[in-house]
Subunit: 114 residues, 2 copies
């Protein structure tokens, strides 16, 4: 597996953000999609704790800082074009979602009430 | 498969796009992150074939139309805030990535030099 040596291979968008997928390493369930800027990506890789950039609050967001449900990074990948990131994590606590669900993807599009 | 007729629970961004994660249903590997607009999301749910909106080409993009490596939809989910989609798919052919890799996430950031 190739490794990269610089964040130059990550393409941040015009706002300075890149989408970051968190996947639970034990269940392989996709937990959530957040965004990172260069600072929070560096912090995530240095600390091993998923640290996003909250677009709505326009600030750093250490996942679990309030809830205790931290995400510990096991593996980190960048896609072929550098436009998105994938993190395999150990989800601590009850789950990733603020609703109490383990994954934020608990609503099926096929079951949407029409 | 139930076809949806309302996408009110999906929040498209200012450009009319929503990020869509494709995850291989058998290996559970995350394959890629693309984008959909309302038309290509509807087409995806109706046809059962992942159909993205190419931001670079500014047009509909039926995954596999050129390569033959279609992605057949097994399950479709929207996140708790409606801001991203997750599709469990059967990845046909050799894989999802134009490089020939099965997943677009084949480059590790783990050993990234700070």
């Amino acid at each position: 597996m190739k490794t990269i040596t610089s964040l130059d291979d990550v393409s941040f968008d015009a706002n300075g953000w890149v989408p970051a997928i968190a996947q639970d390493a034990s269940t392989m369930r996709v937990l959530m999609l957040g965004y990172m800027n260069p600072d929070t990506l560096r912090e995530t890789l240095e600390t091993g704790r998923m640290t996003y950039f909250s677009r709505s609050r326009n600030q750093r967001w250490l996942k679990g800082e309030t809830s205790g449900n931290f995400q510990q990074v096991k593996e980190a990948f960048v896609d072929c074009e550098g436009r998105s990131l994938l993190f395999l994590v150990d989800q601590t606590g009850e789950g990733a979602c603020h609703t109490g669900e383990f994954s934020c993807y608990f609503r099926s599009l096929h079951d949407l009430d029409q």
